[in-house]
Symmetry: C2
Subunit: 135 residues, 2 copies
């Protein structure tokens, strides 16, 4: 007899906020839960597992749309792991590209910061670079 949890308890147990749990339900990521007569949402063990699934997906940077697809695959016993892997590898590529962009930015910033003496003088390589009209 698994105990039913209110949204606050489910939030604490899953590591999500109550606000986001409602948001996920409202945006179709989660099915509507049963409610008490007063309208309070109630969560069982299975739903708690889904909340954890979402939290872990977010930790890995998946968008809610991607998590939606992953959840649907998870719930589908006839899924093909190929589909899951496709989503993951797409996301992996996105992450890799984002890293590359940030590293590029990091390099430029580091160079500029090193060229700025950072004293009480107004001359500044950083501003000079931002003010340059090229590129």
């Amino acid at each position: 007899m698994s105990k039913l949890l209110t949204i606050g308890e489910a939030a604490k147990a899953s590591g999500l906020s109550a606000k986001m749990i409602r948001h996920y339900e409202q945006s179709g990521l989660l099915e509507k839960t049963p409610r008490t007569e007063a309208g309070y949402r109630l969560y069982n063990t299975q739903q708690l597992r889904q909340l954890n699934f979402i939290r872990r997906g977010r930790q890995l940077g998946f968008s809610l749309e991607e998590i939606h697809s992953l959840l649907n695959l998870w719930r589908d016993p006839g899924r093909e792991s190929r589909e899951v892997k496709e989503i993951a590898e797409k996301h992996l590529q996105d992450v890799a590209q984002k890293i590359a962009e940030l590293q590029q930015i990091h390099g430029v910033l580091e160079t500029l910061a090193n060229q700025c003496c950072g004293n009480s003088n107004p001359d500044c390589a950083i501003l000079d670079s931002l003010a340059a009209m090229e590129v």
Copy 2:
């Protein structure tokens, strides 16, 4: 005698969109430009330089708030380069941290993707990991 540009021309010349130029003005990043009698915004060379400044700042990932501060420093002949460098180094740290987070995610995703055979079988290490209740 520098020619005055309409917003569309200024957009093309600066690499920003007309939409965003209006937005930057509305949010206080740019001073209000003079207008024609019909209300069309007009941009001179000085303002075009500011638009380029903003574009380059965005390219380096500075937030609009940071760019606002940088623009104010740029316009202030009595600035101290220390202040500019402070903003840049704060942003540099943010970028570095973001890179670290993404690299962490990248590593986990790569491991999981390698463990998923990605065929027509439903078994999938990625889903298993997302479904795990720990952490």
